[in-house]
């Protein structure tokens, strides 16, 4: 089994004085599947490591099934990892909070889901949805402070007039308004990290940017850090400081957003970027980089998971999992084309 620890030190914004708030090391999740004895395993996530600083956005991109949501669900402690560490403000929470996440962890790390409908109770008003976390986490001193704080939060996420919105029920709101309520609810507990799993993909195209701009404003003004999960790499460039590419549950490449998109090193990243619709280039005139579909994750063979589709595949790729290599400041890649003795050249 490959052991790769990529610590915050190996991948940080060099000049940033901001403290690391969340760090994961070798996060791994294997789901037992198949038959009576559950002897097979889906390798949903394997040895994923990264850190998020205060007020920083790390985007996780990758195709369907690559492990993006699994990453967020593990950090939100909706399920337990098979192995690995989750450090919040330097504390290994899996060790100190063995019997589930503490109240302080749950308020420090909040999650926003893709579906703004599914995450709200249709029989409760907007005010109720935001009051509950305020009460559970003792965020206001007096009962009489509750409603003013609800209104303040609604105004923060651009829902005006707040007193009107507070009395509405979920079905009376548009998708974009519901997602803003979900964000207000997450903000209620003063989180330091927000895990946002495809927060805009279900929204109407004309209102997606508004929600992204809101999240960017909260990052700047309150210093919230985000794990931003998306399959839309252009939106990752827009919102995120850094981007990490997942493939088949493995971290393949990571860099500052502009570096990753301007100087992609991994063959899969290149494929992903070449497939993004681009109105500047007619479809028929674009080069086909690779085809095929993602591999099965059930007890995968050794070697690079992209080998079956990779145009640059070599013998070694099918036998040995490549290690993570740093190829430029703040830019790493997991591919045999790079690093010592590989004979490959960094782009």
């Amino acid at each position: 089994m490959t052991k790769t620890v990529l610590t915050a030190e190996q991948w940080k914004l060099a000049e940033s004085p901001d403290p690391v708030v969340l760090e994961v090391r070798n996060l791994t999740k294997h789901f037992p599947v198949g038959g009576l004895f559950r002897s097979k395993h889906v390798h949903a996530l394997t040895n994923v490591s990264f850190a998020i600083r205060r007020g920083e956005v790390l985007a996780v991109v990758g195709e369907s099934g690559s492990g993006k949501s699994t990453t967020a669900r593990l950090i939100a402690r909706l399920m337990e990892p098979t192995s690995g560490e989750i450090l919040f403000r330097g504390q290994n929470v899996l060790q100190t909070e063995k019997r589930g996440a503490s109240l302080s962890y749950r308020s420090g790390v909040q999650m926003i889901f893709q579906d703004p409908f599914g995450s709200m109770n249709p029989t409760h008003s907007v005010a109720h949805h935001i009051m509950r976390p305020l009460q559970i986490h003792h965020k206001v001193e007096r009962r009489s402070d509750l409603l003013p704080r609800v209104h303040e939060l609604l105004a923060t996420v651009g829902l005006n007039p707040p007193a009107d919105i507070a009395n509405k029920y979920p079905h009376e709101l548009s998708g974009g308004q519901r997602q803003r309520v979900a964000i207000a609810r997450a903000l209620a507990v003063d989180p330091e990290i927000v895990l946002a799993d495809e927060p805009i993909s279900m929204l109407d195209v004309s209102i997606r940017i508004g929600v992204l701009n809101l999240m960017a404003k909260l990052k700047k003004e309150i210093g919230i850090g985000y794990l931003y999960i998306t399959h839309d790499i252009a939106s990752a460039r827009y919102f995120a400081d850094r981007i990490m590419v997942l493939y088949a549950g493995q971290m393949m490449e990571g860099a500052d957003s502009d570096e990753l998109i301007g100087n992609p090193a991994h063959p899969y990243t290149k494929l992903l970027l070449s497939a993004v619709p681009n109105p500047e280039i007619a479809l028929g005139q674009r080069e086909v980089v690779a085809r095929g579909e993602p591999p099965s994750l059930i007890d995968p063979p050794p070697g690079c998971p992209f080998a079956a589709r990779c145009p640059q595949v070599m013998d070694v790729c099918r036998k040995v999992m490549p290690e993570v290599q740093t190829i430029a400041p703040n830019h790493w890649v997991r591919c045999h084309l790079y690093g010592e003795g590989s004979g490959g050249t960094a782009a």
Partner: protein, 337 residues
């Protein structure tokens, strides 16, 4: 410059809506859903035409009426939907006047449709080969079972699936492969027009690009026309010859794809263009469009976009702008022009 090559790939004949004899001519189409809470004017006085071998895109956000138009053309609208006006001419014949026999021949043979998330609509208990062969035999009763099966295998080949998978069941295929099967079914009777409603929306970009390139190739080989529906403007501009932009049941702008991308005139189209972050070029702060799409039970008066429009002025809430040709081949419904 890349954009120059796009321009030359558009044939001038097809980019003029006045082309000699369009394959499909939708004239003043209106559709209403008669709901318990009142009538919903889902499509209002929509007109456009599609030439031979042309790709016409219908853009617009959720609920703007794109699928309703597609279903009206196929005559597969059900109650509470009522076509309240207009004509749909296919090769000169009015589809809205066709009887049952006429429709039977029209669907699949003349026009076929790839539905929104159709890949989940394949029959789970039939092999993909059986499902393709079924469409062929239903419409061409003289075909033998073996002939239909051979043709099914050939069609799989055409859409980029190994023909040996003809005996596979849908669950044995990935989402992308199932969507290719749906396209194979749509191609089975060599239609002249294919209506594709969000054909790749549920798929990853890599698979999407693969399928769209395949369709583009097939279109060139077989010469059919396409009505292409998607909310992804980048994909639409890349793939379409001409585009109609819909807002709240109306076409507010139509022109060729290149022009729409470089010089959108309607404030809604401009807002849509400012809603998609770019992958290359300078990073600008995008504004999107303020407000949210209208409640179609009570659409705004005058220009339906006026509550969200930053350029609205006196006549906008009062008077409905009509679609006018403001530049050759470029139609806009807005009081600014």
């Amino acid at each position: 410059m890349a954009s120059a090559t796009v321009a030359t790939s558009l044939s001038p004949q097809s980019s003029a809506s006045s082309a000699a004899e369009p394959l499909l001519d939708v004239q003043d189409l209106s559709v209403e859903y008669q709901t318990l809470r009142g009538p919903v004017q889902a499509v209002s006085h929509v007109s456009f035409s599609i030439g031979q071998g042309e790709v016409f895109g219908l853009a617009g956000e959720s609920g703007s009426g794109k699928s309703t138009i597609a279903h009206a053309i196929m005559r597969i609208l059900h109650s509470p939907a009522v076509i309240t006006g207009g004509n749909v001419l296919f090769d000169g014949d009015d589809v809205l006047e066709m009887d049952v026999d006429g429709l039977e021949a029209f669907r699949w043979r003349d026009v076929s449709m790839v539905f929104q998330s159709a890949m989940n609509a394949l029959n789970p208990v039939l092999t993909v080969g059986e499902q393709i062969a079924d469409v062929i035999q239903r419409h061409q009763p003289t075909t033998t079972k073996q002939q239909a099966k051979d043709r099914a295998a050939e069609l799989l080949d055409i859409v980029g699936i190994d023909r040996n998978r003809v005996d596979d069941y849908p669950h044995q295929l990935s989402g992308g492969m199932r969507q290719r099967v749906v396209i194979a079914i749509a191609l089975a009777l060599k239609p002249q027009l294919m209506i594709m409603d969000e054909p790749t929306t549920a798929l990853d970009v890599v698979v999407q690009k693969d399928i769209m390139q395949q369709i583009e190739y097939l279109k060139k080989e077989l010469g059919f026309s396409i009505l292409f529906i998607t909310h992804d403007l980048s994909l639409m501009v890349e793939f379409s010859d001409r585009i109609g932009v819909m807002y709240a049941g109306e076409i507010v702008e139509t022109t060729n794809a290149h022009e729409l991308f470089n010089k959108p005139l309607h404030p809604y189209t401009q807002g849509l263009m400012a809603s998609f972050p770019a992958l290359v070029g300078p990073k600008e702060t995008l504004t999107g469009i303020p407000g949210s799409p209208p409640n179609m039970l009570e659409p705004p008066s005058g220009c339906r976009f006026h509550p969200r429009c930053s350029k609205a002025f006196a006549p906008c809430p009062l008077q409905q702008p009509s679609l006018r040709e403001v530049e050759p081949g470029h139609f806009v419904a807005c009081h600014l022009y």
